[in-house]
Symmetry: D2
């Protein structure tokens, strides 16, 4: 077993317990969860009634067992904790390195329910990180505290339907700054967002919204890119979902799945009024925030993808041992064994790449590891997709149905090649970094 | 333009009209269709109310325009036609060769509504072919006539949840023959089927069911294949959906889509009683029927897949001409152009393979062309999937959503690699045929 | 069998005879040919002694049988023919369409010797086409005539080692025009070329050279492309290999093969003096010539690639029927059968794409078909390479050795993805044409 | 940087020196080496004169610098060492773990000369390991000692031309045991081997030969595998190359390269007489030996493959920064950047897989790690081939020529997918191990 998988005895014990929790509690509850949601239709699917009680049950269990907010890289400030708060790890040893968290996050990724059960699910983790790192004490008290406790969920509104979101500068949502007669600053937010994951969740209390500062002059986007709004124009604001003017227009589907009651929304922002306390970090610092937010988010996605693929891979292996065709077990067919071997390779590569990247972040920081982050963001979804695609093929009709997690997993990973920036963008970034290193090497030789 | 695409002036004119009909009538109606169905939930999705009126409208139009039952390879018997029947082509020239139909079927495949609008959709075409070729006059009068007129839909029940359906001999549904005191023969049908496309459709009037003859003795399937039930045991029977004992247990989803109101059902057959007139062609001739049924079915799927991919390809091209990222149109990015070129190649290869195979059937018969049929059954879904996958990637979030036909198309083609036999089975067959030819060549050399 | 493969009875008979000639005369002679060449080393490999006598024998046979210059699209002018000339087809019916030639060229492609034996090998065919189309009567008498008769071979010098030849405008060879005191025009040619196929062949009598016109002023190539020499600057000149100043610097190897005595040379051109009669078509018309020359050349390469892959595929099939591993014949292993089926698909697709493209040229002209030409130029080498790669894998050690044609074939096709422009260039061109068509379609809709 | 790459200060210093040695001494010497060999033709290519003096020079340097026999897993027995022997590492700390050696072996793999320069090249390392592990003191003195000192080279004769060597039981070379009148045992060896790497090397002093014990009775190989000779029949014997009856029939080429003066031979063994001291480990223990020998050999190949691909990758990056096409540097073309990014991913995955496997061997032993060994044996050559294939494409004509190491590297890695067992065999083994683990997991659940 590779040292990339080494854990201290404490974390190792935690991992074993987590494995049991995921396999014996979360996975068996998935059917329940789906059945509960399936009872609702139309707008009711986004009502509090549609939230399956089992998830709250699992959250309590996870909290009790200590699998809570494991994504947190370091202790939270005292003002966020009460004396006997169980919402964050008590023992310092439980603040995990990225590599350690990667190993545990892979296990959570095996079940669609485990990340939420452990309060480690997107987009909340990213939002909590932003608030922890950049939030004022007030912002932390109001929003971070309930998020850490799992009392509330949140959304992150960046992508827009009207522009190619592969280019992060391509935003049209506008934040207009107004100064009142009393000298008090007010902001008005307008725009249309989509793929706002969790915005329709009845438990969603707050959204972080990325918008362009509108300085009055018209900033028509020119096709030639020269006059494009600069990155320095983006600002992130905190918007409570109850604020007038914010409206979930419709749920989006992902290959036919609406993922209710969490889902993905198209959100209209019409003259949403905010005061100065809504701005995170400062005007024009949005690009910085969204980049830092996406860094770890990208690798958490990869970690979960590995876990999901590992589960599908195991299901595939079991299937080949129990189904027959043409007079022998599937696993006795040579071509079926090739699928198994190829999947073992893909899975191993995906896991090593992910953990080595996590270790790079531990050693070099997210900025120093951004080449590797770009690398795994495109490679791991592809590798894990291939594993699941083979599993689907071996399951046949059952593989594309709702009876197994395979179909859902396959389209989930397909979507991951688009979410947080399509492959093309990350490949360009990675290549640019490699070219820069090469230039340096060439110069040093002269 | 390749001669594979050549058409007589008459058929060419028909093609132009069909193109207009599909592009201007069917494609624009798809949104309507979906909106109508989306209003229904639960069991109502399978009610007659859920059938969008627009489809009946399109059927009338198609019939009036002469795009009706174009799949028919030859005139139907007189007893099926009334004097001024518009349900079948009147002019002999309108009985199309497989290659000609392939060109038109590709066009229908562009829209999810066109095949049904033209009474050329699965599984009805396959069932009509079976009835036309093998049905008695009574069977034809009762079932084929309403199908040809589009008054009724039908299902084909072969695949079973309990056994690997890749092996067509692997059936457990049983047809027990009983001889009454009066000497009259009766059959009792028992079994469980799934992926019974259209069985839950409120318009579905009849199912063709493949079952094993049960000759009394226990026929336990041995893992070693030696004692497996022989192909000669399979029988196809006609079962009206109203018959007691036939029950649609639940709808299945395909990657999150339930495809209501047509859909895919799991069907329980409990002591369904049938008399002798229900048997098609004769006891033990089921394998023969299902093979002949699937031959053309397989290539119709491929034809439609090419049409669907062509539509997605065009959408992708248009998208790259209208969206910008990083200061230029997507089509100005070199890596995006590679996706276009690769897709053009894949699409061209898929189209040529399909039409050349259709021409082989025209020249050699389905049996003579079965190597090519196996070849395109695995190759065309893969080639066309790649085209659509690239389109999804270029569309980003919009590509996986319900706003464009891409997401639905991608999982539809993924499913096609499983339906009517998974790739592995067809590849084995193709290889065996190639090896047989090689042996012959080697022997002729000695 | 697809209509793309249909032939008139006359051509069909020719095809049968050609098949026999290639299989029974050319293929068995390959070993001889290689053994003969292997006796020579160093510079001797490029001597007339190194030319295997068997090739002249095969040329006589091919000429006698009427497989001579079949690539010719139309009768040659009378001044090139003597009364009973056997060097060109006599019967008008023997001037083949591109599609017909494609079928025969595939057969020639099966053997490394057949194209030369039939006087249909690169680069001679391209050069003959240029001279036939654009040469003056004098140029045709002096150079085309011996080429048509197979008395001489030729080279085409375009690619240069110092610049990326993917960009055809990127040439540095210079043609300087000087006007003498007597008013007579003279040209001086300077430059360095490589991948000059056949230039070291002892039978090579003439080279067609592409060079930039040097108008005196310095034309430093700027990196930004704006001041790049225009296409209109290129000129093609005829240079007899005996002319002073032309020097083959060294043979190049292709993955370890030097392909002696034909080979690929690096050629230095130092103050090669030429008079006006050396210019083909006129100054500045080089781009036009090299494009028209490459068009058919590209598809001939594809045709031969299909033939070569077909031969390797057959060898693979035979191997699987005669070798055993793990107690059964290779063909009985399921994973081996998948390789066979995948290869059958790739080969069929490659063949259909090539012939459909040839038919497009027949119907629309090379210009009208240039999208398809670009398409097959990238797709067919890839498809056929895959077939051969699988054959290599099945042959194991024998596959990479010199005992079978597989290793040579594989690297030959790998090289084809670079020769006549790398894939990337053709993909960009194809995409641009597709985008142009799309724009038109979009405009017509408004 | 991943912990998989961590080294102790001592080994890290060694690594830095090795890097300098490979980059500044070995790589620049490659041209020399090739030029020297190119002067010889025919049989002379296998003469001692053809061995480039530069390699002996590099060997001295490597020995002096301490890069000698680094592959050795542990100190050699005293009887193999003289007092001030420099042929083996003196410091215990210099006995490297497999992971550490992997990092250094990757660096050696960058140059075709470095492994031999460091006395770490195949097949000698494998043979030395066998002799070290299983040899008698006499065998070690006679053969291991000169090998360790680099005074001699060796060969390993297993593969045979007449049978599929993918199946290691499939051997026909026979070892007949004879007992003389004096009671002394004698063996007679007969057979034909090929791909006997290094057997034609003029410095090759000894071959290890795998043969079947011939117990007198005819052991006709039956196609059905039931009566196949068992593994227990294989025996490994030591055969000095000077022994009568051993004859190198011919050199084999690998995609046109003969790799002289080392090369790959076809070897005929005709009545080679041996006495009891020639047997390693004992009669019938050949399978055991060849398996243990191949284990580390497989991963050394992978390590070198990563180094070679890394070098090609760097060359590709540099090329894109210095060549222009269409008015900009190659690295400014988006499609070129995708090739870079994909290669970075493939290379990173290959490296991690290889080092993680090496670490598995360190922790679990070769037997415990054999699943991972099978995994990387198929995956790493594929991943690294892709990197080099892209480099070839970017270099264009230069890439397939002898001017850069790319062409040689590409076919070398292609061959690696066959050497030491084709991919298919390793995939089957890996799948079987995965299935066994799965069965266990399933049983533990009940």
């Amino acid at each position: 077993m590779s040292s990339l998988l080494d854990l201290s005895p404490q974390v190792s014990a935690l991992k074993d317990k987590l494995e049991t929790f995921v396999n014996e509690r979360c996975i068996p509850a998935e059917g329940d969860y789906e059945c509960h949601v399936a009872k609702f239709s139309g707008a009711d699917r986004w009502s509090i009634a549609a939230v399956p009680p089992v998830i709250e049950q699992l959250k309590s269990e996870a909290q009790a067992l200590g699998f809570w907010n494991l994504f947190l890289p370091r202790p939270v400030p005292d003002h966020l904790m009460s004396r006997d708060d169980v919402s964050v790890p008590m023992a310092p040893s439980m603040y995990l390195s990225n590599r350690e968290y990667g190993i545990l996050c892979e296990i959570m990724g095996r079940s669609t329910l485990a990340p939420e059960a452990c309060n480690c699910s997107a987009p909340d983790t990213g939002n909590m990180e932003v608030l922890l790192k950049h939030g004022t004490i007030d912002q932390q008290r109001e929003y971070l505290k309930p998020l850490l406790r799992g009392f509330m969920r949140s959304a992150f509104l960046m992508t827009e339907p009207d522009v190619a979101s592969s280019d992060a500068r391509n935003l049209r949502a506008k934040l207009t700054k107004l100064v009142g007669d009393d000298g008090r600053v007010k902001y008005v937010l307008n725009g249309r967002k989509w793929w706002s994951t969790g915005a329709m969740d009845p438990r969603c209390g707050v959204a972080l919204v990325v918008a362009e500062m509108d300085h009055g002059q018209s900033s028509v986007t020119s096709p030639k890119g020269k006059d494009q709004p600069k990155r320095g124009n983006q600002t992130v604001v905190i918007v409570p979902m109850s604020r007038p003017g914010i409206k979930c227009v419709r749920p989006l589907t992902v290959f036919g799945y609406d993922d209710a009651p969490h889902g993905h929304a198209e959100v209209l922002l019409e003259n949403v009024e905010l005061d100065e306390s809504a701005v995170i970090l400062g005007e024009g610092r949005g690009f910085e925030i969204s980049q830092s937010r996406l860094g770890p988010g990208r690798i958490h996605h990869c970690m979960r993808a590995v876990g999901l693929a590992a589960r599908c891979y195991e299901l595939m292996l079991e299937r080949t041992l129990t189904r027959q065709a043409f007079g022998k077990y599937l696993c006795e067919h040579g071509s079926c064994r090739e699928l198994i071997a190829d999947s073992a390779s893909d899975l191993e590569a995906a896991r090593l790449l992910t953990l080595a990247c996590a270790e790079d972040i531990d050693r070099l920081g997210a900025r120093g590891a951004r080449g590797k982050i770009a690398l795994i963001k495109t490679t791991v979804p592809e590798l894990t997709s291939r594993v699941i695609d083979r599993a689907v093929q071996i399951f046949g009709g059952a593989g594309v149905s709702g009876d197994f997690p395979l179909a859902r997993a396959l389209v989930g990973l397909r979507t991951l090649r688009i979410a947080d920036g399509p492959d093309a963008v990350h490949k360009q970034s990675l290549a640019l970094m490699e070219l820069k290193k090469t230039k340096k090497r060439m110069q040093s030789r002269i």
